[in-house]
Amino acid sequence: MRAQQSVLEQINLQLSERRIGIIGYNGSGKSSILRLLCGLMQPDSGTITVGEHCTSIGAKKLCRTIGLIFQNPDHQLIFPTVIEELSFGLRNIGYSKAEAIMASETILADYQRSHWRDKPVASLSEGQKQLLCILSILLMQPSTLLFDEPYSALDYPTRQQLAKVIANLDQQVIMVSHEPHTFAEFERVIWLADGKVQMDGQPTEVIRAYEANAEQRNHL
């Protein structure tokens, strides 16, 4: 709910493709869908099922099934050093301190970032912070990753590199963006407008219609 106005209405979706893009203008309800999917927000009516769980069990219990990478890494990163940030989630799901640190070191090594271990999070660049956010969620081994405008603060080369990292993930990816070309390689694109599904289908068709619509509208 944003100022007592419903953000999403009559949404009925089955999201099973490996790469799904959600596109829409600001205020269309894109981010709300992600918050609903990971249990940070609960629907006023209706139900949402992720895997075999209903999202009403809440974000804390869903974090091993579905993980959200926040739009602004500074909102997601809580701890002063990389290793603490990575092991935080694992401690919550029952790892001992030593196990959590070992798993975190392993994932850093997998991504050739072992030298990050004791770095202060504040010293990382925006793109590096974004990668750290992804790694800290990957450690929880969710089957689905949710990305909220992951490229919005990145320069072009960093954005390309991050896109490559995301493309190589084994997990299902559901990504939100207002920028259509992000989804050129995706399997399915859903266009949200005013909290409703405007169009749902192959990227080429949806992107073309979305661009045509954006041309016509004067938003300023």
């Binding site: 974000a59 926040f70 602004n72 997601q76 809580i78 989630g89 770095k119 202060p120 969620i137």
Partner: protein, 200 residues
Amino acid sequence: MISLYLATPTWLHRIRVSYKLLALALISLVLIPLNSLWLWGAGLVLTFVLYGTLGGEALKQLISFRPILWSLLILLVLQWWLAGWHAGVLLVLRMSTLILLANAITLTSSMDDITEVMLWLLQPLKKLGLATELIAFAMSLCIRFIPLLIAILDHLIDAWKARGGGKQYWLVIAPMIIQSLVFSQHVADAINARGGIPKQ
């Protein structure tokens, strides 16, 4: 997120957090009863020397203390008026020395290690049935939030100045409170999205 933690490891990083905290407690206990301005002045100078041995990055951190200088100045004036200049200067020397020493510990200790010491210190409360891990987590979050709140304040003051705002800086208090609350919601989301508060 900005951090009160130094990137390059220094000699102070290598000392155990419990020893550093114990040293701070001892220094405070021994020095506080003493009233000599010379002694406290020397203490402050030695504290700056300590920062010097930690390197340029630590010295740069001292700049983030500017906002505190104002409160110290107010305290100085108040104390001067109420109890004379000696008491005023003494108070300011004492507070800045101890705050800077405590800050040196925060700069060189990871949050995990600080939390561990807190949990150890809180053990007696645990026997009374209190959820000490919650207290320890809240305390470590407090430490994390200090530089963050200073940064929010700096941004607001910059925005205020950039649009020709006058000297009435206190007007940024309301947006400051709103932004802090919004930020606390983000942190709560971040914690919940990763399984809630750690159980030790």
